[in-house]
């Protein structure tokens, strides 16, 4: 760290170099008394150093909420979201998936989670005016093989799903080329994937969506109670790394999660579910440690009696499912129906 470029007293700069302090992080990690002893400076000098260093780190960092609200630039605005490719689902989410933060999609098997994720991988490639981010996606598979046949089916049918987009725009996009599939079946491979491969793709601007299918599969083998600390640490580390990548590159991270059933759970799992079972018999897996990392949680489920919602099921061919907002800072708890058709996932009004 070049201390000379800071607006500091030369005596302070000399003391910093002599004490071999190399970064702002180191300075802030020390207490004031420690700094005084280490650098042999008075308390006023240390105060001055702390203020100068903080000011440099936090230069130009203030915004008023009004500026946030009025920012319409698609590169920085909070109003910019990633569309799901269906206006009904977008309305449920007030625009789509937020660009900064980890969004979780939990649900039982065959509820449609992978279908929604594949659809997102295609939606992200559309231009900004059609709800996309003009970039590709990374799909990290942790258990099953990547459903490439289904992906090609969806690509072929894009013109049918996205009737709002002109045909020539759709034809120009080479959907298959911009989806990067990674396999990571265990924690170490996953860690390497996030820290090296993902940062590379994001830094080069080649992707603006990360899908992890699924996060629960990595932690599937029963971590005993004594290993709960290790497991929690992994979850927090992964969460923090994904969150940091999402913030740096303004890229939504979509994590697919499975569910635990209340009755057939070990004591440990029931404990983890404690705060998460709100009147349901299922709860998303991985407990509160993972839930703390999330910005938004969505739950996909199959409707038990397809004919229950009057008038809704009559015109749809596939079985009925619901997409529910469990929590989000900007959305009320709400839900809507959807079906999985040949061309993709479509909401039902």
């Amino acid at each position: 760290m070049d201390w000379d470029q800071f607006d500091l007293n030369p005596k302070t700069v000399a003391a910093l170099k002599k004490a071999d302090i190399k970064s702002i992080k180191e300075i802030l990690n020390f207490s004031e008394a420690d700094l005084q002893r280490l650098m042999k400076l008075s308390s006023a000098d240390i105060q001055c150093l702390l203020k100068t260093v903080s000011r440099t780190l936090r230069k130009n960092s203030m915004l008023t909420a009004l500026q946030l609200y009025q920012d319409k630039d698609h590169l920085t605005s909070q109003h910019q979201k990633l569309s799901l490719g269906c206006s009904v689902l977008d309305n449920l989410l007030k625009g789509g998936i937020p660009l900064v933060g980890i969004t979780e999609l939990a649900g039982e098997s065959s509820a449609g989670k992978t279908q929604i994720s594949l659809q997102l991988c295609l939606c992200v490639q559309y231009p900004y005016e059609y709800g996309g981010l003009e970039s590709g996606a990374v799909y990290i598979c942790t258990e099953d093989a990547f459903p490439s046949k289904r992906l090609h089916q969806l690509i072929d049918q894009q013109h049918k799903l996205r009737a709002d987009v002109p045909a020539e725009v759709i034809q120009k996009i080479k959907f298959g080329n911009s989806i990067f599939v990674e396999h990571a079946a265990d924690i170490d491979t996953f860690h390497k994937c996030i820290t090296k491969r993902l940062s590379l793709l994001l830094a080069r601007g080649m992707v603006r969506l990360v899908v992890i299918d699924s996060i629960a599969a990595l932690f599937r083998c029963e971590f005993g109670v004594s290993e709960s600390v290790t497991k929690a640490r992994y979850l927090q580390t992964f969460g923090a790394q994904l969150h940091s990548l999402s913030t740096r590159f303004r890229t939504p991270i979509m994590c697919i999660n499975q569910v635990w059933y209340q009755n057939c759970c070990s004591f440990y799992r029931r404990v983890m579910m404690q705060s998460l079972v709100v009147g349901n018999r299922v709860a998303p897996a991985l407990g509160i440690t993972w839930a703390n990392q999330l910005l938004m949680r969505l739950m996909a489920s199959r409707v038990s009696w397809p004919g229950q919602a009057s008038g809704v099921a009559s015109h749809c061919t596939g079985s009925l499912r619901t997409l529910r907002v469990v929590f989000a800072p900007h959305l009320p708890p709400s839900s809507c129906y959807y079906t999985v058709q040949l061309e993709g996932v479509k909401g039902i009004k």
Partner: protein
């Protein structure tokens, strides 16, 4: 002038030398002069000059301070403190049950901590408070501004707009009902835009940025003297990973708490922090406890724990120096943080009351 050498803000090495040479008060230092000082202590003349300058400034500052009667050396009686505390404003939350439980609302000059599981409403309350702190005095507010430090990225400005619009509407209804001069005047400057423009938003991506931001807070609050609320949402997120050495984390958190207490006091602002919950697995049972450890529990003056009971949200006052422990229900509506509406109320025309037996639907579907 009779200030002891040990209490002067000089470098520790210099103080040690002064003590060894037999200097005891600031007066003696000033009488010796720079040449004599440099000879007796064996330091350079520049260092001696600097030291004397510091001493002179300190003594000057001391006399000025005792004359003004403010600062750390002032004495209070308990009665004066009581009167000052009672005159202190509260920031209302629009949930009367919660305000009553807290003794009026979120208190200024104190640190309030809100703990809870994800999705229970901590950020919602923070956004509500950032709007409510700006309510004009004639409507019962403190007419202040808010600083919002966001570490998780959960500050969604669209939601703040909804909350602000509902607050303005509420004040407009009061003004229409009471038809007083100052109410109408206050409403002229109380609008959604003005509310948004007085929420100062900072985004901190890791604990280093958070620490730096808190160091800069006193300066910022001096420049923006109308700020009456500082929100840090959430305090746990940057500190719960990346720390191999937990004692470093404890030390940093303690330092942070100290600075926030001083800031809250000096600038008469409320400090509101949100914390996560973690599971503590005991012998036969396990409990959800606030994160960041036992010692962090001492940082906040007031601690609220938000939790669920089936589908009802509850707030428990877990720690307070003056109020009784209690639990009250609350609701998060499209208009913000509110009381629970009793289900016996007949549904109004726009159907915003929620029947707890019905599956939640989107607002637009209730036609």
């Amino acid at each position: 002038m009779q200030r002891e050498v040990g209490s002067l803000p000089l470098a520790p090495a210099l103080r040690a030398r002064l003590a060894a040479a037999g200097f005891q008060t600031a007066q003696e230092l000033l009488e010796t002069g720079p040449c004599g000082l440099s000879k007796e202590l064996g330091i350079s003349k520049e260092e001696a000059l600097e030291a004397l300058q510091v001493v002179r400034q300190e003594c000057h500052g001391d006399t000025a301070r005792t004359a003004r009667g403010s600062g750390a050396t002032r004495k209070f009686t308990a009665l004066e403190l009581l009167e000052e505390e009672q005159a202190q404003g509260f920031i209302i939350t629009f949930c009367s049950a919660l305000d009553n439980m807290l003794g009026g609302g979120v208190q200024l000059t104190k640190i309030t901590e809100i703990c809870g599981a994800p999705g229970v409403g901590k950020t919602q309350l923070c956004m509500q408070l950032a709007v409510d702190v700006q309510i004009p005095e004639c409507f019962g507010g403190v007419a202040g501004e808010a600083v919002f430090i966001d570490t998780e990225g959960s500050f969604m400005v669209d939601r703040v707009v909804d909350i602000a619009a509902a607050c303005v509407q509420h004040c407009q209804l009061i003004a229409e009902a009471q038809r007083e001069e100052d109410h109408l005047k206050a409403l002229e400057t109380f609008s959604v835009e003005s509310i948004l423009s007085h929420i100062y938003y900072f985004r901190c991506r890791d604990y280093v940025e958070l620490l730096a931001q808190v160091y800069l807070l006193p300066e910022f609050l001096s420049e923006h003297s109308k700020v009456r609320l500082v929100v840090i949402d959430g305090i746990a997120f940057p500190f719960r990973h990346d720390f191999e050495d937990l004692s470093l984390r404890t030390r940093l958190l303690n330092g942070l708490a100290q600075q926030l207490i001083i800031t809250a006091n000096d600038h008469k602002s409320a400090v509101v922090l949100t914390n996560q919950m973690t599971t503590r697995i005991g012998q036969s049972q396990s409990t959800l406890v606030p994160a960041l450890g036992e010692s962090w529990g001492h940082a906040a003056t007031v601690r609220l724990i938000f939790h669920w009971d089936n589908s009802q949200r509850l707030a428990t006052l877990y720690k307070s120096p003056s109020q009784k422990e209690a639990t009250i229900p609350y609701d998060i509506t499209p208009r913000g943080f509110r009381d629970v509406q009793p289900p016996a109320v007949a549904p109004s025309a726009d159907g915003t009351e929620r029947n707890p037996r019905k599956r939640p639907r989107r607002e637009e579907e209730k036609q």
